[in-house]
Subunit: 748 residues, 2 copies
Amino acid sequence: MDDASQGPPNPVSKRPRTEPARSSGRPTRDQGAAGSAGPDATVTADAQLPKLDESSLRALAEVGRRWGPPEAAPDPRRASLPLDPQLRYRYDSRHERGAFVQVHHPLASGQDELEATQAGGEDTRLGRVGHHVRRLVIGPPLRSSAVAAQRMGKLLALPVLSPDALSSVAYGPEAMMAILVAAGSAELKLSLPIGAVLVALMVSVGMGYRQVIRAYPNGGGSYIVASDSLGPRWGLLAGAGLIVDYILTVAVSVAAGVAAITSAIPAASPWAVPIGLVVIVLLVLANLRGVGAAGAAFALPTYMFIVAIALITVVGLVDAGSHGFAAVPPATHGASEALGLLLILRAFASGATAMTGIEVISNAVPVFKPPEADNARRTLTVMLGLLVTMFIGVLVVAHLDGASPGSETVLSQIAHRSVGGGLLYGYVQLSTTLILLIAANSAANGFPRLLYFMARDDFIPHAFLHMGDRLAFSVGIVVLAVPAAFLYAIFGGQTEPLIPLYAIGVFVAFTLAQSAMVAHWRQHHASGWRRGLLINLLGAILSGAVVLIALVTKFTSGAWIVVLLIPMIIVACLSVHRHYQLAQAALYPAVEDAALPSTDAGARTYEGQDAPAEITHLAVVPVAALDRSALRALAYAASLNIPTLAVHVSPSDQEADRFHRYWQDWGDHLPLEVLVSPYRTTLAPLANYIEALHLQRPELTLTVVVPQVVVRHSWQRTLHSRTGQRLRRALNHQPGIVITSIPFHLPN
Amino acid sequence: MDDASQGPPNPVSKRPRTEPARSSGRPTRDQGAAGSAGPDATVTADAQLPKLDESSLRALAEVGRRWGPPEAAPDPRRASLPLDPQLRYRYDSRHERGAFVQVHHPLASGQDELEATQAGGEDTRLGRVGHHVRRLVIGPPLRSSAVAAQRMGKLLALPVLSPDALSSVAYGPEAMMAILVAAGSAELKLSLPIGAVLVALMVSVGMGYRQVIRAYPNGGGSYIVASDSLGPRWGLLAGAGLIVDYILTVAVSVAAGVAAITSAIPAASPWAVPIGLVVIVLLVLANLRGVGAAGAAFALPTYMFIVAIALITVVGLVDAGSHGFAAVPPATHGASEALGLLLILRAFASGATAMTGIEVISNAVPVFKPPEADNARRTLTVMLGLLVTMFIGVLVVAHLDGASPGSETVLSQIAHRSVGGGLLYGYVQLSTTLILLIAANSAANGFPRLLYFMARDDFIPHAFLHMGDRLAFSVGIVVLAVPAAFLYAIFGGQTEPLIPLYAIGVFVAFTLAQSAMVAHWRQHHASGWRRGLLINLLGAILSGAVVLIALVTKFTSGAWIVVLLIPMIIVACLSVHRHYQLAQAALYPAVEDAALPSTDAGARTYEGQDAPAEITHLAVVPVAALDRSALRALAYAASLNIPTLAVHVSPSDQEADRFHRYWQDWGDHLPLEVLVSPYRTTLAPLANYIEALHLQRPELTLTVVVPQVVVRHSWQRTLHSRTGQRLRRALNHQPGIVITSIPFHLPN
């Protein structure tokens, strides 16, 4: 044996824990702690390891006590490790194949960094090829600490965080006009008063989110704010609304972006759907590379778009001024519908999609440079100003130019009017397309964040707590892109039919966030809370009104999909939550259960055997033939020095005798049972026999040691039985049965 | 602990083995032993357990010797089984859930039958439902011994074994006429001379198979005969031909059967493909029930068909006689092709499909009542007589009646002529359909048998050695039905385009079987061997000629598919064979390797550790959180009394310290290493760390004990990490790493 002179890591003496005691009897993740600062909305490392409260810690200590003499003679297991677990020497020499590993010496100052630069993990030949392909496509991994380094100043944060909101200008006004035109092109003039109401709504909701930043300086999206102040159920409703919102943001932004392309190049129109799907795939790949590279690259298109809108608006206004601001009458459309309140409300609800993305900055406070909250609020104000100005500008110029929705987008029409068809027109369309794609991208960044927070609250599989390579939550992005691509494709790549679905989810989240802020101000009387309360109350009422209007006027034209989808998401999340709660209760027993004297031999079951002395072993080795794979499995089981029984299944008594003779030839070193299965199946009798053994003494830990031939190529797997896998499936429901496959590697 | 008074089964003293010593150094299955009786073509139980030759047995004993003192003090492992492995008491009380288990007491006379009546094995709730559904659909299981009980007399064997051959009358003549008619309907009269040549061919090949029965009284299909006398490569070619043949038998028979239906009910014509696919599905289900029930039920349709053909032939001849045997001129078809030798040869090759199935009886000798060979030969003679008579009758009457191939089958046309359109016509069509479906079914029975024999020779995955429920080789039937259904569907459910594919495979197998018999007679000069040799030589030459003719004339019209398919099957089989040979060499080492003093510490590797004393253990327990599932895994590892190391992966140093504190609270019972993975992935660093540990001392057996949460419902699996499964995949390529999942069952 090697020397084990390195020994185990120096254990630290007990230190007082810094975590506050919780009232709940269960360990919890860091979430929903009420307080004027609100819960922490940053993505934290500690979400992976649940915090243990006093009760759980006492239960843990109780289980530990059952292991035996606590501070007595040094446990022989401790000193006898046959190798150096710290890998100090070996690891360096194998630098090439190392991975993200660094051995942690608890609370020691001089840490040996054993960090390596390459990924590994899947070290099969295929795995390595896959690894290199992935690296090529999605770039090298990024350290956690890189997140903090990516803090943004206001000038960078504005273009990075505002594309979602500003790009809405490309489809919001158009969506509104598309409804109005149904009452005849003459009624398009109504877009101005409706637009005015929308501007009021924007300002009100935007102001409301300024209050959110004030109350949640660590960042708080609608989900976190609603969970915190209204309770988890309302938070969940906001979360479900946001999930739908994120999916539709991708679908609508891609649709509008492709529309900008097809307006400029009408010949591309028939290819709209495939173009959009390719864009979504590129989006996914780009996001698997992570947000890191995106920041700076995304800043330019936003400014380009702002300039583009400014350009066509100013030129359009100057043009119109030269005609005394007389509106050009739009191309005549026959009315297909009478003008009525319903139509106006529908147009209003469609136009409200121009507000999507207004909440992004309040979610992302931690990415600002300090002072985070102040910078975020100022950036939000600037963005709100830009949004309102651009929205008004587009509406007015569209009215003056007599633009009307059709196969060419409204923006493209007024761009043509203002700057002709040359280079400047191309610039406008290009920047529109780019900002829309970046907006779709911002959803791809926000969505996994939302899933992370919902996973922290046990509403979403905990897999979403783990970050993938380059900090992008790979799975989340795929989960987002697939339904988005699906919706995009089934609605034929058109923006218009997607709009009715879009408004609901967004405004449900707006309403809940603003209502939560009302509740927040009622609880926390910070300075200026009355003013905040009034602002948020107005925002809540107006947003709620939009939800109702959208529901009523758009139910039949697609909103019903969302009305079905949101409860389905909620039910799914609640099932997940319920499962995790029950799992937590089972995994972290209360002190009473942990202290249970489970050594009482009479009532012993497999449950609660948490200390070595409580475990009684039996090994069962199924042997199909006395080949080396079986001999190795028998040797493995025997070397553990636990009672071992070999089992063979034979189709006839004659064959059984033959096996017995071989067994004798080998030396008959272990007890053997031969099962005769005249039905010529092997697995079922084996599984039933093992189960029957187990039922005889359920408190035994029965380890089934299965010889397993391991092949080089996957097709060869069909050539060998997969007894281990099949036994695992057959006996999976039985507590106390452990299946161990002993690999035997074939050389070919 | 329970008493272990039952003790281990009474070991028998070494008995002389009855297996003959082999020249090969490797264990072999019972195959290809040359001898005048030929190899055993019965499905035997001993195929599952390879026979060990002297060399392998000595190697086995050598390994056994390394286990330690052979007959010294009783091994404590033997006496200390904590339960009764014979299950005498428990098992009865749980009769309801028992399965095909019967504990075998070696060589003892008074055996306690512990047999139970129900299947089990998959004992999850879903598994049980699935079990009941399967039982409902495919019937109760059948014991091995039931095979022997199903021996058939000649009167039963004839109808059971002849449908494949006799049903060919329904499409063979028609296939030939379909070619001739291309030269104009006037040339249909050529069917008579071509038919005469075919009859000569039939008699010759049929006589040849009588010789096969004589030489292989235990049964011998083309595959076994060719393997035995010409060598395994030629046997493989025959086997590949037969595989193609079986698939096409199903496709052609179903197509012809459906054609009989659509001739009677023309309105059903558009549904031909779906009807045929449903028939194939029903065929699969029927065969999963096994051959048992089939015998008697299948006898009636065969006799019905013989009667039907006799009826229309005799009535047709009598009718024709009343007109002085003047042939009615067939409906005029324009010639699309000049009459030439090529066309005549093509017609000949198509007509040769009437001979398919002629070999079935020679394969199935063991199912006859004794004297098997004599009964089989007599039955073959009767069948040959029937086939020739029916073939001639149909051709002559078709000629006299002026039938010509078209949307209505030729048989249907002459039936209409002979018996009108009433009940008798319906009877003819019904019996035709039934016998064709039974012919398809006979392929479904023969195919898995062929796979069994090829698996015994290592050409096919050994899974085909194991019989499913009710002795039907379930997988084989599915493997047969899927390509058959595929071919049937892509050829539009028509017989005609399938015919060119059909002839090749059949006649390749015929040719090889007859050639093998020639070789056989040259080696074994049994009485009458000269006559036998001449008969088989003629058969070989004629069959070979058919192969050549079919290849040349039908290559472009579909035969090329078979010409591609057969080599592909051969290559696949050879790859399988090569893998099994190398695997055998690895699994059954020669004596020298087994005797290797692998206790030499210097050069020790994991390879060749076949005795407990040679194994040095280290357990590694990955711990994600100190919950009960992890505590149980730690306790399990520690209770094995082998050196144990716990490993935790943490995203940051702070979190690592937190985990260390919990570890201290628990009691710090085991050495712990914490890996800091700043890249927020868990699996890759863990796998790399374990691999690095393993590389430090590759001769260690490193058991990774993974806590595994087991859930009740499959959707809940997405809620928990599958570390065990993923580690198994990541570390699978490393010999000496064992992954053990310790299940923790959640109550909900």
